[in-house]
Amino acid sequence: MGFFQKIIDGLRKTKQQIGFKLNELFKRGIFDEDFYDDLECILLSSDIGEDTTVDIIDELRERMRKDRVSDAKKANEYLRQVMADILGDEAFEFSTPCVIMVAGVNGVGKTTTIGKLANIFVKQGKSVVIAAADTFRAAAGEQLEVWANRAKVRIIKHEEGSDPAAVVFDAVSSAKSRGTDIVLVDTAGRLHNKKNLMEELKKIDRVVDREWPQADRKNLIVLDATTGQNAIQQVDVFNEAIDIDGIVLTKLDGTAKGGVVLQIKHDMDIPVYFVGVGEGIDDLLQFDAQSYIEGII
């Protein structure tokens, strides 16, 4: 039990550390090894991952040395800048008509995200149809229908267990004939190491390309902010299957930071476009690197 108690105490410390956050750390005004150790701890506990954490710290050291920074406030700005440089700032842009496919592993919040995305686009004055291509999970279609009603958009739905590619085919045909701006495709959650399910996703992707070559195409992956380093593999494998354009980072309203997105941008150059911050229909925001960094450190 002694060991457990130690960890609990240790964690309390970490929590306090994150509580007073970097500001306190910078206020010390001494940028020695202890400073960098503590900084490393804070970055690691945001799921930024060891490689990127080391890179951030090295870069910060280098820039601070070059500019001879010894002022706490300035050092703080420098760190934020290093992180902002990694994340970049790209808005989600597309031309209509557009087919937006939303993929990801189980339970990350794809269906909810689709509902919120539909709401955003409707508010921008676009017409939207949702394709309920998660024909696998029990009651997924019903769940999506509720969201479609909330966002006041059309939904194309088949029976549970039917071919998801057929649903997408129907949705695309319907959008073509009605001149709909955006088709939002909800796909079943799948673990990225399930080969046949990834093949199924590729098939859906191909069907869209074949049936509507004129349409703009965007593929988004939804990541749960509570996910740790496995998110890297998720993006890597999904990207290989269907060329991911960007990330929707969900569940940021908890205590998790989803810092792994820094690593993903750093290694694979895939940006975050949206963040989910709650269960309400308006709780999906355009990603903003500055405020995100404020939030995690």
Binding site: L44, A138, A139, N230, D253, G254
Partner: protein, 436 residues
């Protein structure tokens, strides 16, 4: 993926710079421990937990004699592995039975952890043990959650109770009454996913727990969760005094370091693992397998241990020599079958190889019956045939088939398999080392 190369390799590399000697010193293991910490962080073990763990293992490892049979690197891995297993506790996949029936189990956790699916799996598992299970729909928030649980209940052939979207405490109370009236001895309450910092929703769980005398409060956690696992588990435990943890989605390729963090922070047992989307995909928690998974080593260690006890060193040497000389005949092939049989269930064995999850092997299960048949075929051969398989012409094969009561095609298949195995071994001996 080169991202997570094997910890054993890394540590061996650290030690390759040092000469082999009697006991481990602190200076020597410092570098190795850096790799261990790195492996733990890559596996999403919480940073504080990882730090404490490394300190503890360092203390333990300093001064430890290096066993003759092991390299210093292996010795360190052995200590790390043993400590990990000890920390993760024992196999405690039992669910308690309340002295006053029905036994009430409440599932809780974050959104998307897999609670609803897990309800069905647990129901299935308990019913196999002769329990009569009622699933109670207490997630009144997520659209279609009730419908999902209803379908899950049908699949698991369990009872189902719902009252629509009214006060969850009331639903739980009525659900228990319904269970008592209808002879259910177990009630599983599916609650809505919630954030641990949402006090209002946490109070709702407390209220349910108080109202119906919950016997098991199980926290369901997605095994892909990162550093935040400690905050989640700690808060749920503080507020609800959980009785155990279920890790889900372990059929993915996550290393599952959260398991260690959660166990360390709450001290509560990990009870089950979810390993797929089917209702049967539920497994008891094995601390040893989890340890190697976190370290990224498959179950190499267990495999080595098993192999060591089952096959004497002498046998192993003989086999190695035969492989080298490529004089591997059907007698040896038969011996291999017997060795494998000694080691236990072959499917379990195959799953222990690192990366076996990715191989097709895991899916197309190796048939133990088929192995028995193969043995029968070889046993129907003469001594001469066994040591010189080349002489096996058609009439001999026909006789063998008759002898073991199978078809000639089965005999052909076995010989083909043997030849493949022999060639594989030849190739393996040419490329440097065995995988472990």
């Amino acid at each position: 993926m080169a991202l997570f190369s094997n910890l054993t390799d890394k540590i061996n590399h650290v030690f390759s710079k040092l000469a082999n000697r009697g006991a481990l010193t602190e200076l020597e293991i410092k570098d190795a421990m850096r790799e261990v910490r790195r492996a733990l962080l890559e596996a999403d073990v919480n940073i504080s937990v990882a730090k404490d763990f490394v300190n503890k293992v360092t203390q333990k490892a300093v001064g430890e004699e290096i066993l003759k049979s092991l390299t210093p690197g292996q010795q360190v891995i052995k200590i790390v592995n043993e400590e990990l297993i000890e920390l993760m506790g024992s196999t405690q996949s039992k669910l308690g039975v309340s002295p006053k029936l029905p036994t009430i189990i409440m599932m809780c956790g974050l959104q998307g952890a897999g609670k609803t699916t897990m309800c069905g799996k647990l129901a299935m598992y308990l019913q196999k043990q002769g329990k009569k299970v009622l699933l109670c729909a207490d997630d009144i928030y997520r659209p279609a959650a009730i419908k999902q649980l209803e379908i899950v209940a049908q699949k698991a052939k369990a009872g189902f109770f719902q009252m629509g979207q009214i006060d969850p405490t009331k639903i739980a109370k009525e659900g228990v009454k319904y269970a008592e009236k209808n002879g259910y001895d177990t009630v599983i309450i599916d609650t809505a996913g919630r954030l641990h910092i949402d006090q209002q929703l946490m109070d709702e769980l407390k209220s349910i727990k108080k109202a119906v005398n919950v016997f098991e409060t199980l926290l369901v956690v997605d095994s892909m969760v990162g550093q935040d696992a400690v905050n989640v588990a700690k808060t749920f435990d503080e507020q609800l005094d959980i009785s155990g943890v279920i890790m889900t989605k372990l059929d993915g390729d996550t290393r599952g370091g959260a398991t260690l963090s959660i166990k360390a922070i709450t001290g509560k047992p990990i009870k089950f693992c979810g390993i797929g989307e089917k209702m049967e995909d539920l497994e008891p928690f094995h601390p040893d397998r989890m340890a190697s998974r976190i370290l990224g080593m498959g179950d190499v260690l267990t495999l080595i241990e098993k192999a060591q006890t089952a096959i004497s060193e002498e046998d192993a040497l003989k086999m190695a020599r035969k492989m080298k000389e490529a004089s591997f005949d059907l007698n040896d092939y038969l011996e291999q079958f017997e060795n494998v049989a000694k080691m236990g269930d072959i499917n379990q064995l195959v799953s222990m190889f690192p990366g076996a999850g990715k191989l097709k092997l895991g899916e197309q299960k190796i048939d133990e019956k088929q192995m028995q048949r193969n043995k029968a075929i070889i046993l129907s051969m003469t001594k001469e045939e066994r040591s010189n398989p080349r002489i096996l012409n058609y009439s001999r094969r026909k006789r063998i088939a008759k002898g073991c009561g199978l078809d000639v095609s089965d005999v052909n298949k076995l010989i083909k398999q043997y030849e493949t195995a022999r060639d594989l071994m030849k190739r393996m001996m040419k490329t440097k080392k065995l995988p472990f």
